[in-house]
Symmetry: C2
């Protein structure tokens, strides 16, 4: 695990969309746009239990994430890492916090019936970013 | 190979950033933000010869690409596919055309000395998109 540079942490803390790549059962990549968060060295992604991403990281925890500044898409970073934990703990509150960050809404508006949220906690191993 | 829905083609034709995932030698994913283009059923990505992406797809052609509308990031698509060709043919003109599309500049301003551009031609196999 590495410590992310401050400017990359700011990208993850800001209201910026990220793209996460996971591995399908046959080893091919899958990539989707996600809300994202940073806490104490880890990148956090919130998804619903049973989704492709969730199933993929439980089988193979290796992921990659890219993020770009919404204000200037040429300020960006690409991170490679591992999902070290997938947890329900705090995941419902966390998706509401993300809804506030990204939409200004107190509650996440797109909950599906029976859906259980999970937090994927990602430890970064490598980071590429553009020069200052 | 599948035909992409019209609304997904419009995303790739528009001035929208995409994120492409490729596979590293150890099978882990890598993802980077790219300019993107669409032509006759194929998604085109322009990169420099010898870059990580270029080396990755020559070893394993399986890729995934996500794209979101710059105007409304909740209009988005995720595509899985294969690189069917990596070519120098037209790649220098193509990067200039992308510089025009994304920056309004006639010539791509970030050529490095000795850099040779290549076009990665991607055949889509699966697509996910959000409901209309």
């Amino acid at each position: 695990m590495i410590k992310l540079p401050d400017k990359v942490i700011r990208l993850f803390e800001g209201k910026n969309f990220a793209n996460i790549a996971t591995l399908m059962p046959d080893g091919s990549p899958q990539v989707t746009t996600v809300w994202v968060d940073y806490k104490e060295g880890y990148i956090l992604v919130n998804t619903a239990e049973g989704r492709v991403k969730d199933r993929n990281v439980r089988r193979d925890p290796r992921v990659a994430i890219s993020i770009e500044s919404a204000e200037n898409p040429y300020i960006r970073a690409s991170v490679m890492g591992k999902v070290v934990e997938v947890t329900h703990d705090g995941a419902e509150d966390h998706i509401d916090a993300l809804a506030m960050k990204y939409m200004g809404k107190e509650r996440y508006p797109w909950r599906a019936p029976g859906e259980r949220r999970v937090i994927m906690k990602i430890a970064p191993n490598r980071v590429y970013t553009n020069p200052d």
